[in-house]
């Protein structure tokens, strides 16, 4: 089960929250590792699809944020998905360098230890 959407249909399918944001999951297209979750506005999503460079909205700095603009650790868009109810995005990306500002490959480098 799979559907494909034009850019217009994709953009129209998104439901934004009260702040005009939608969560976006970035997944390494090669390894399948989940790298990070960040947020997009309608404008940064449109920019992401148009430029092929993952572009988010920084909630802390309250500004548009092209991933890697300062660090060089850019994310190139490989595939874009939207979930069943349109309130979450998933991007398969080609990650240049670490995704995390700590220098870790993925932001999810802390794991619950298996012992209870």
């Amino acid at each position: 089960m799979s559907e494909t959407l034009s850019d217009t249909a994709f953009l129209a399918a998104v439901t934004y929250n009260a702040d005009g944001l939608v969560p976006a999951i970035a997944q390494d297209a090669a390894s399948g590792d989940v790298l990070m979750l960040a947020w997009m506005t309608a404008q940064t999503l449109e920019e992401t699809l148009r430029t092929g460079q993952l572009t988010y909205w920084s909630r802390s700095r309250n500004e548009r944020w092209r991933k890697g603009a300062t660090s060089g650790h850019t994310q190139e868009l490989v595939e874009a998905y939207i979930d069943c109810d349109g309130d979450t995005l998933l991007f398969k990306v080609r990650q240049n360098g670490p995704a995390c500002h700590t220098g870790a490959r993925s932001c999810f480098y802390r794991r619950r230890s298996s012992e209870a």
Copy 2:
């Protein structure tokens, strides 16, 4: 680069939003596919770690929601991760049946077509 956290440390590391919720990504432990994103409270996260059954908070029904409680499509916890700033959770799960209420294996069954 990897750290392991006790349950106590894991629970203490979470930053909840203004509604007391944290986004939780469920990833198929076997295939690596991202299945869905849902939300947890401190209580449903604690229940998830304690029982090994993914348990969320339904924002539409405003109630605790053990995944698969009615459908049988449960998610068994394999591994739990928390991101660098503690505001997103990632769970590797054993998914029984489809994860999506539409019957799709993953909620991300809609893909942007590659032509512009």
